[in-house]
Symmetry: C2
């Protein structure tokens, strides 16, 4: 095995088979993947499934608390969870630049295998393309997830928020974006900022157990909390009112955001979930989340109000109300 | 709408929403996709599904007879078919270089929509990432397909080939690889070579109807017919004997291969299927394929022999037998 990825590793021939066997299959091995067919044949427990796809182009590939592999698995798992599904299966497609170090690839693959194990999702199929030097910047991963939806239960929908519902965030915001940004810019913060990248299986299952009728669930990745709240407000045709002081932000992330002149509400998260739940269930959901892994800093941050205009209102620390808009430019490219 | 893709189109904010709405949703619209959730919630007819993923990095994006969009849809549909599934749903993830012309993106999206329509598959979810100039060479697409497997029927498996079975190829080989290669090198051939890129739904359904017990099915893409035959021989632990003279190659592709010194057996196809079927069904399957769309040049090209060593034998035009090996280098990078 050479120590870098060669063009011939993407040929579909002998070298491809070697790379797949020695690097991917070694760490991802399971009965579905090991069939090595063109497609994996998979049992699903019932006749409603959830399917989601995401590409990851994060730069750098390794950052405090995570890497592109963990990010890809967790991001897709969280999207499945947000749709109300139990994550089951994952596919992973790799685009690799010729010359990429095999050791780095192994490290990423191992990290994916660990994240998949923690999230109880099986990597069932994959693809590897190698592009000539300069055609792709080091490594990109696209993951697609398949989950099972319980037909007897209700599942969350973006359009389900209604007057009186409460908005919960499962923890501090902005950690992922500022961790990647900090590493990319070569900054060291006085308190180190780590990505929050995590698969929220336990947390979401706990919330679901506390309230089977969760209205909306979304993970605030690109565009941050501001984008997700705006999408939910638009889809449900309601006004979402957020109290800025109640939104948890770690002091280190807040300082870094102040330094860059960025609003943490616009910064990507990779291990957080936004819940909109009926008011009567809010405290129970909050306490279930706070007792679960990755949920200790969860907070109720706002309310849903009836409104002729779908929008997000923010009551700022200064006590004034302003409209929290959808972010419109690209603040942090290649953050996920 | 600007006329090129901007970094902000990948931000997850307002510009992303515009691009998704004006370009992707416009052509892909359906009730699942239009929900615009983090994941699509989908009915499946029974409890066994097939799932496959592929990235496409073809260069150039447009080539005689097709483009990257058509290729992505057809490639994934054919992988689902090869697993014995009925294609149902597709996700598409786009990695786009900042500055990519919106008109080219529209053309690719439209081509995907048409290919999906012909293949009767629904594009249910997607993702768009925009990378800064130089981080990705124009545009890459990753598609993931989901299909339904009929639990009552047997489905093909790479390991199922046995002594006496016949090998069928659904048409001429090498067309896709040489069409892309020709366009990339700026060559004009005396008879134009077009990609064979096609979704083989009708053809495979016809073969299945003619023989419910198809042993193996694989589409010979990267690595060509040689790679697929070697994979099947290895998985089944048999010797596959191929008669070179019976393998259909168009005169134009043969000339182009001679010019480049490439064996058409190693060149990628994107609209062909290899079948291994019991001898008694071979003529019926052949005639069903020949009567279906894209199958008129189908041929029986070889037989499965019992052998202590899994390998592929080729009886050449000169009447000598040689081992047809797995291709070991990368002959044509970025062919799919």
């Amino acid at each position: 095995m050479p120590d870098v990825v060669l063009l011939s590793h993407g040929s579909g021939g002998r070298k491809s088979a070697e790379l797949v066997h020695d690097v991917f299959q070694k760490h991802f091995s399971n009965s579905f993947l090991d069939e090595m067919g063109d497609a994996a044949v998979l049992p699903v427990p019932n006749s409603l499934v959830s399917m989601t796809t995401d590409s990851f182009v994060v730069d750098p590939l390794f950052f405090p608390g995570g890497d592109i592999g963990k990010l890809a698995v967790c991001g897709t798992v969280n999207d499945l969870l947000a749709s109300g599904a139990t994550p089951l299966y994952l596919t992973a497609a790799f685009m690799i630049e010729e010359g990429f170090p095999i050791d780095d690839l192994r490290r990423i693959v191992l990290s994916m295998a660990e994240a998949a194990k923690e999230a109880n999702i099986i990597i069932v199929a994959g693809d590897t393309k190698v592009a000539p030097r300069g055609a792709v910047d080091s490594l990109f991963i696209t993951t697609t997830g398949l989950g099972a939806i319980d037909q007897e239960a209700s599942y969350p929908q973006s359009s389900a928020a209604a007057e009186g519902d409460c908005v919960i965030i499962s923890g501090t915001i902005g950690d992922h974006g500022m961790a990647v940004m900090g590493r990319r810019e070569g900054l060291t913060f006085s308190s180190p900022i780590q990505t929050d990248c995590a698969a929220l299986v336990d947390l979401v299952f706990a919330a679901r157990a506390a309230c089977p009728g969760i209205k909306c669930m979304r993970d605030p990745t690109r565009g941050g909390l501001a984008a997700v709240l705006n999408e939910l407000a638009a889809a449900s045709g309601v006004c979402i009112h957020i109290d800025e002081d109640s939104v948890p932000v770690s002091p280190a992330v807040q300082s870094a955001c102040d330094l860059f002149g960025i609003d943490p509400l616009h910064v990507a998260n990779e291990g957080k979930m936004v819940f909109i739940v009926p008011q009567e269930s809010a405290e129970a959901v909050l306490s279930a989340i706070q007792s679960s892994k990755y949920g200790e800093n969860a907070k109720i941050i706002g309310r849903v109000l009836a409104s002729p205009i779908a929008r997000v209102h923010l009551r700022t620390s200064l006590g004034v109300n302003r409209i929290l808009d959808m972010p419109s430019g690209e603040i942090l490219p290649r953050i996920c």
